[in-house]
Structures are given as structure tokens and as C-alpha cells.
């Protein structure tokens, strides 16, 4: 039972393990399934691929929030998904109440969407930092499970804030992303609404990479993630750095909330939790604490979800999406907890 006698990782890799063989067999079958689907209906396949890429982008922004926070505090921030949900609601409120945005306003929508993006990122960032201040900071020295439990509590509270604010039904967002096609190739249509999601995601990701890798504040984040005490000795204000990390994570959730609400055009108070768990799975899949890993995992999960829900030949369908995602989560945590790209704290390296 005890694994005191477990061989070192190197030895384990050389020996062809049963688990590894099964894993390879499974991946092989998966690729075979994808290949048959590709041959049967190529245009459907590529269309679904593009849909998966788009959802993957939204997941990436949420997954980065999980991974940033986990990297610095080793805390699974359950409330993150609900912050994302509130981000969608902020977006809808700002867009409709302040800017009176609705479908068919042409290019006026572009600066408005940017303004709303900034506002909702700011709102979610501040909210996330406030959550950290209220619910996690007092428990810095407590056993590790204590902040995890409060995180669940906060998640439920925020969910009900959304419920009290917007009611139990779907809230509709203005459908401002144009549905005209960027290109149409052998029956594969690529709409502007999908491209816009990627066009907003990529600069945000670049900005985040710049922030973490090149700025003083990013250096402080990386140092705090490596060793809080040593960082404090070197004169880094650890508490402020952690707050800043939560602010960034919340801002990413806000951006994701904007993209999700404008792309899908509906948001409901309880969507954040489910989507948050999917994004968390993505973060674990890529290797939690690893920023490129989170993006990679998110795109992978987005593709898996899209293929599962969209493909025609022997796909389990949307009834099973959640089960599939959680099975991936469990398998990854049990057999490869360091994720596909390896666990890292945000020191990049």
C-alpha cells in the first residue's frame, strides 16, 4: 500500500508501465475517432475545430486566473468562475445601461466594446482583490484547507449576488459581434464573431506575458511565488503582490466574461461555477502554475468540448461534456498531476 518503495521518476519512465500503455491506447483510439470523423464530414470537422478554438480562448483567460493564483498561493480559487460570471453581468450592464449598446450600431460599437472591456476588467479585478482581502488574507497562516473552504463559501455568495442582481433567468447581452464571414472555404465558414474573440484574447495574453516577464511587478510576483519569505526579505511587499496577482486574475476573468457574454449572448448566475471548473481542468491539464500550459490546456479542453458536442459519428454529446471534462481532470490529477507541460510557478522559466 505505501509507496515508500516507488521507483524514482526516471526509472518509471524507462519501464513501459501498464498505465502508460493504456494511456497511449486511449489517445490512439481518440485520434482514430477524430480521423474517421474528419474523413466522413471534413467541413463539419473544421468548423467544429474553429468553434473549439474560440471557446478555448475564453477558457484560457479564465484558466490563467486559476493558474496565477495557484502559482502564488497554492490555493484553488473556487470563486474565480463566479467572478467570471459577474464579469459577464458587468459587461451586459455597462454595455446596455451606460453605453446603450445594441446590435446593428456599426463601427461605433468598437470603441464602446473596448471601453466596456476596460471597465469590466477593472470591476472584476477589484472584486477579486477584495475577495482576497476579506476571505483569504486572514487565513494566511491557517492549515491549507481553510482558505479552500472559504473559497467555496465565497463562490456561493457571489453566485447568489448574481442571482439577486439579475434574477434566476438567462440575461441577454446585445449581439454586437458581426456574424459576417471572414472567409468561406469549401463549406467551412469562419465568422467575424469568432475572429474577434481571438483578436481580443491574444493581445491580453501578450500583455500578461509582458507584465509577468518584463516588469518589476511581474518580477515581484515570480519571486513571491517561488518563496514568500525570501521575497519578503528582499523587500517585496508580499501582501501587496498577492493582491496585485488577484487583481490581474480578476481582470482576466472580466475580459473572459466580456467575450463570453458577447459571443454566446446569454449569461446566467450559475454558469460561472461550471465553466470555472472546466477552466480549472484546463489549468491542471496544462500544468497548474504554468502560464503557457494554461492556454494550451484551455485550447485543448475547448477542442475536446466542441468535438464532443459537435461531431456526428459516435460522439457522446453535450449531456456528457461535464463528465468527460471531470474524467480528464481526475485522470490527470491521478496519473500526471504535473500536467502535460509540467507544473511551474509563474517564474516562466
Amino acid at each position: 500500500m505505501t509507496d515508500a518503495t516507488a521507483p524514482a521518476l526516471g526509472a518509471r519512465l524507462k519501464r513501459p508501465s501498464v498505465v502508460g500503455l493504456f494511456g497511449m491506447l486511449f489517445v490512439g483510439l481518440l485520434l482514430l475517432w477524430l480521423g474517421i470523423n474528419l474523413v466522413k464530414a471534413p467541413s463539419d470537422f473544421f468548423e467544429i475545430l474553429l468553434i473549439g478554438l474560440t471557446t478555448g480562448c475564453v477558457y484560457a483567460l479564465v484558466a490563467l486566473g486559476y493558474t496565477l493564483v495557484y502559482g502564488i498561493l497554492e490555493l484553488i480559487n473556487f470563486a474565480h468562475g463566479d467572478v467570471f460570471m459577474l464579469g459577464g453581468m458587468f459587461t451586459i450592464t455597462f454595455a446596455t445601461s451606460i453605453f446603450n449598446l445594441h446590435a446593428g450600431r456599426g463601427f461605433v460599437a468598437v470603441p464602446i466594446v473596448f471601453a466596456v472591456l476596460i471597465l469590466s476588467m477593472l470591476a472584476c479585478g477589484l472584486l477579486n482583490a477584495a475577495i482576497e482581502f476579506v476571505a483569504y488574507r486572514p487565513l494566511r497562516g491557517a492549515p491549507r484547507l481553510a482558505p479552500l473552504i472559504t473559497a467555496i463559501g465565497v463562490s456561493f455568495i457571489i453566485e447568489d449576488v448574481g442571482l439577486a442582481w439579475k434574477g434566476p433567468n438567462y440575461v441577454t447581452a446585445p449581439d454586437v459581434f458581426p456574424h459576417t464571414k471572414v472567409f468561406s472555404f469549401h463549406g467551412v465558414d469562419y465568422g467575424w464573431n469568432k475572429l474577434i474573440v481571438i483578436l481580443i484574447t491574444v493581445p491580453v495574453l501578450l500583455a500578461l506575458t509582458y507584465l509577468v516577464q518584463r516588469t518589476r511587478q511581474g518580477k515581484a510576483m515570480r519571486a513571491t511565488a517561488q518563496d514568500q519569505e525570501a521575497a519578503a526579505i528582499m523587500g517585496i511587499n508580499v501582501n501587496r503582490t498577492i493582491s496585485f496577482t488577484f487583481l490581474i486574475a480578476g481582470a482576466l476573468a472580466g475580459a473572459a466574461g466580456l467575450l463570453y457574454s458577447l459571443y454566446v449572448t446569454t449569461v446566467r448566475f450559475d454558469q460561472g461555477f461550471q465553466l470555472g471548473l472546466i477552466a480549472f481542468t484546463a489549468a491542471v491539464l496544462g500544468g497548474i502554475g504554468n502560464l503557457p500550459g494554461a492556454v494550451f490546456g484551455a485550447v485543448l479542453i475547448g477542442l475536446i468540448q466542441a468535438f464532443n458536442e459537435g461531431l456526428n459519428w459516435h460522439a457522446p454529446g453535450s449531456d456528457w461534456t461535464q463528465s468527460i471534462v471531470f474524467t480528464i481532470l481526475i485522470l490527470i490529477l491521478v496519473f500526471r498531476p504535473e500536467g502535460l507541460l509540467g507544473e511551474r510557478t509563474p517564474e516562466g522559466g
Binding site: M1, A135, I152, F156, D319, L333
Partner: protein, 511 residues
């Protein structure tokens, strides 16, 4: 620590002033504040003001010298309630006072015995009880069954979370397993097989599997425990937060399988009847033979019992379910207490406090943790099976993540690791969930208003947020819960080394 010269800031100054106040003046100030509160509340709801005064009186009575003042005060209080016509409250108080006048070595036994007696007799006096301010009337017996079942589950979860310190966010999976076990083996779900084993109150030629519920309860427990081991074996070597996530994953997958398995894996086999759930289930009962042997003291069938009138109370089938639930709960509590001080229980505590040290002392980590999982799952399974029988139905919609957190909230509120605390916390929260929140909402909507503006809150809608708030507040301000176990409180305040030995994630990344 208590040098007033060092007190900086208003809060500390007030605290220092309070600390150095003579006892009598301190009491005077407190009582004054309480009276002020009562006067304030009087304008909202009269009975609430009386309740505050009564609670204050109860609190200050404790601090009086026992003879003659305390006794006199208690008599006055009881008499006052009799005079005001609140007979039931007077009786409750009289019993409580009587128990606390017993010498400690008797009180230790009298307290649980009286609590049991009061619970068992509850159906007889439920309709004669006083109305509680804000919360309204006392819960009816069906709510009582619900409370008992959830207390049982909380006591089961307490083994995993409280004793062994493993955070389980998917306890609802065990509940579901138990419920579906009962549903499969005691309903019309599988019409192609006909198998009868002691089932009560149904035609012996009815299709489907019909096993007596008495056998199904332990069976459900064992199947669930086996399932717990199955989940536990691969996952228990993960560190705490990863384990929590994995259990959450199982807790989400299982209900989805239940919801989607009316066409099991595309084979057309109806395993769970999908979102419609399995209903009805066979009834609970002792059968005609046993019933006539015992002179109809044991009812033949719980659903067709009720012509007996005892102590002026018509026995209902709900009452029978209530008493059976008490018996099951007593069994659970007994097992849980015996486990706590057994070799296994001490091993759990050792693991919870310091995994590395426990392993060094020869505690087999995996086996001990798996046993914690299995024991917790066992009681969850029994509770699930029993509740499914009581409702005579199982729906996949009953097994949301919310329920897992709800049960976790019970354990946290009551006090992780302390069985009495968990019982109190669980019964209170289960009551809130079933009746309390609705009653509170009603009270708020009738009594609280700003001018002519009534809030019209739908309080039960926000149940999960309220549990979230309870979790947050308890974890921040009193992490050891309302009735803490002394040991757990020390851990939570000092912090423990919970760096796990099986650090699968780090072992992979840093090797």
C-alpha cells in the same frame, strides 16, 4: 498582554476598558445593552424582544451563586412562563434546569438520555410547542426525518473531514449511491427480473427486484463503502486540495451518469430512468408475521399503520419513519464514537495533525485514509438509502454539488471532529433548509419594512449563498465551529504541518 497603557486604537481601548471594569459594573453594562436591544426589537416584533430578555436572563442566571440565587431565578423564570401561558417553554426550561442541577457524573449520562427521550417523544408534543420568534412554529415530523437523515450524513462526513482531515467535496456521490442502491433493489425499475426477498406490502408476483429495506440499508452502506474505497484507492495519495477537487469531480460525474443512464451507454438498457428518477420504492415494515407476534407493536407496513392512538396522538407513518431514523442515527453516532477512540481513530487524528510524523510512527497512510473514506461512505450510503425509502423516490436532481457543500457546512458550523457539535450544526442547518429559511423569510417580509416599503425577499432562493456566508464567517472567526473539539481548535489556531508525504504533484515536477 493586558496593559492598558499600550492600548492603541479605539477598539483596543474599549477592550482594555472592558477588561478592567469590575464584574458587577460589567454585568450592569451588558444587561443595559441587552435591554436596549430588546426595546429596539420591541418595535419590530414583540416576541423577539421577549426572547432577547429571556436569553439574557438565562445567561446571567448561570453566573449567579447556585444556592439560593440561581435556583430562585430559575424558579421565577419557569413561573413567569407559566404565568404568561407559554406552558411548553416552561416545561422545556424545567427539564433543562433539572438536568443541569444533577451532579456532573450523572449529568454526563443524563444529558444524552434526556436528549434522546425528548427527540423520541417529539411527535407527541410537536403541535403543543410554543412559537419561536423569527423561526415560527417548530418543525413538523417529516422535517424531523429530513433533519435526522442529514445529521447522519454529516456525522459520516465528519469521519472523513473532521477525524481524518481529508476534505471531501463530493459526499453527495455517496448519498446518491445509497439512494440508487435502494431504488434498484426495491422498485419496479427492472421489470424483466422478478426477485422477491421479504418485501412488504406488495403483490408477490410483481415484476422487478424487491428486497426488504432492512436488508438494503446495510447493503447500500456496504456498496457505498466499496465505492468509496474504489474512489479512494487511486486518489487518496493526492495532497489535500487536489483530493478535494477529485472528490468534487466524482460528485459531479455521478449525478450526470444517473441523469443520462436511461439509455445506458447507448445499449437501450434503462439503468436509472434518467431525469424522471425511480419512483415509487417499496415501503418499510416488519411484515405481518413479526407484527402479530409482537402484538402489533411493530407495524407490518409503515404506510398502512395508523389506527393506534397513543397518549392522545394519532400515530402517523411519518412518526414511524422518524423513530426508525432515530435508531439509525443512534447506530451511526455509536459507531462514530467508538471509531474515534479506536486504534483507527487515533491513526486518523495522527494523519490529520502531521502526516509525515504519523507515517514515521508506522501508521499506514493509504490504508488508514481509505478506511476513513469507506466509513464515511458507509453512513452516507445508509442515509441515502433510508431517505430514498422515506421519499419513495430517487431523482438525479437531488444530488447537486450544493448538497455536498451543504453537508460540509453542517460539519464546519458544528465543529469539525466533534460529534455533538456536528449533530447540533447539522440539525440546525437541515431545519433551516427545509422550513427555517422559508419561515424566516416570511417573518422578515411581514415585520421588517422601511416606511411602507416591504422587502418581499424570497429567502429560500438564496439558501446556498446563506450557507456560503455561514462557511465564510465560521472559517474566519471561529474555525473550530460552534462546539469545538478541543484538539481541533488547537490545531486550527496554531496551524499544523500539513505538508503531505504523498505529494504526487511535487514528486513529479521536481524529480
Amino acid at each position: 498582554m493586558s496593559q492598558p497603557a499600550e492600548a492603541v486604537g479605539l477598539r483596543n481601548q474599549v477592550r482594555a476598558w472592558w477588561k478592567h471594569l469590575p464584574v458587577l459594573e460589567r454585568a450592569g453594562v451588558s444587561i443595559g445593552l441587552e435591554l436596549l436591544l430588546a426595546v429596539g426589537l420591541f418595535f419590530i416584533d414583540h416576541s423577539l424582544a421577549y426572547a432577547v430578555i429571556a436569553c439574557s436572563a438565562l445567561y446571567w442566571l448561570r453566573r449567579l451563586p447556585p444556592l439560593p440565587w440561581k435556583l430562585a431565578g430559575q424558579l421565577v423564570l419557569v413561573l413567569a412562563f407559566i404565568v404568561f401561558g407559554v406552558w411548553s417553554l416552561a416545561v422545556v426550561l424545567a427539564i433543562a434546569f433539572a438536568v443541569f442541577w444533577l451532579p456532573p457524573r450523572y449529568r454526563r449520562w443524563a444529558l444524552p438520555v434526556v436528549a434522546c427521550a425528548v427527540t423520541v417523544l417529539y411527535p407527541f408534543y410537536q403541535d403543543k410547542m410554543f412559537t419561536i420568534p423569527v423561526f415560527g412554529v417548530w418543525p413538523d415530523v417529516a422535517t424531523g426525518v429530513y433533519m435526522l437523515v442529514f445529521v447522519m450524513m454529516a456525522v459520516g462526513l465528519n469521519i472523513v473531514v473532521g477525524y481524518a482531515g481529508l476534505l471531501d467535496l463530493g459526499y453527495v456521490a455517496f448519498y446518491a449511491t445509497g439512494a440508487y442502491t435502494a431504488a434498484w433493489f426495491a422498485s419496479l425499475q427492472f421489470p424483466h427480473t422478478t426477485f422477491h426477498l421479504g418485501a412488504i406490502g406488495i403483490d408477490p408476483h410483481l415484476p422487478g427486484i424487491h428486497v426488504t429495506i432492512w436488508l438494503l440499508l446495510p447493503l447500500a452502506g456496504m456498496i457505498t463503502a466499496f465505492f468509496g474505497i474504489l474512489i479512494g484507492l487511486p486518489t487518496l495519495r493526492l495532497r489535500g486540495d487536489y483530493l478535494a477537487i477529485v472528490t468534487l469531480g466524482f460528485g459531479e460525474i455521478l449525478p450526470q451518469i444517473a441523469r443520462n443512464s436511461d439509455n445506458f451507454l447507448g445499449t437501450g438498457f434503462n439503468l436509472t430512468n434518467g431525469p424522471n428518477g425511480i419512483t415509487p420504492l417499496d415501503s418499510l415494515g416488519f411484515g405481518n408475521r413479526l407484527s402479530s407476534w409482537t402484538g402489533h407493536v411493530l407495524p407490518a407496513n409503515y404506510l398502512q399503520c395508523c389506527n393506534a392512538k397513543v397518549l392522545g396522538h394519532q400515530i402517523q407513518s411519518t412518526d414511524l419513519f422518524f423513530w426508525t431514523a432515530i435508531a439509525l442515527l443512534l447506530f451511526t453516532v455509536f459507531c462514530s464514537m467508538r471509531l474515534q477512540f479506536s486504534r483507527l481513530g487515533r491513526a486518523w487524528i495522527a494523519i490529520r495533525e502531521d502526516e509525515t510524523a504519523a507515517a514515521a510512527m508506522g501508521v499506514p497512510l493509504m490504508r488508514t485514509k481509505t478506511w476513513a473514506y469507506a466509513s464515511g461512505a458507509f453512513f452516507g450510503g445508509i442515509a441515502g438509502a433510508y431517505y430514498a425509502t422515506f421519499k419513495s423516490a430517487t431523482f438525479p436532481g437531488d444530488f447537486f454539488f450544493n448538497i455536498s457543500v451543504f453537508i460540509l457546512c453542517m460539519v464546519i458550523l458544528g465543529g469539525m471532529g466533534n460529534i455533538w457539535g456536528v449533530i447540533v450544526g447539522a440539525s440546525f442547518l437541515a431545519y433551516l433548509n427545509q422550513e427555517g429559511l422559508a419561515n424566516t423569510g416570511q417573518w422578515i417580509n411581514t415585520n421588517v419594512h422601511i416606511g411602507s416599503h416591504h422587502p418581499n425577499l424570497d429567502v429560500p432562493l438564496y439558501a446556498s449563498g446563506i450557507y456560503g456566508l455561514i462557511i465564510l464567517v465560521v472559517m474566519l472567526f471561529r474555525p473550530e465551529g460552534l462546539i469545538p473539539s478541543r484538539r481541533r481548535a488547537a490545531e486550527l489556531h496554531e496551524g499544523v504541518h500539513d505538508e503531505p508525504l504523498y505529494d504526487a504533484a511535487h514528486a513529479g515536477a521536481e524529480a
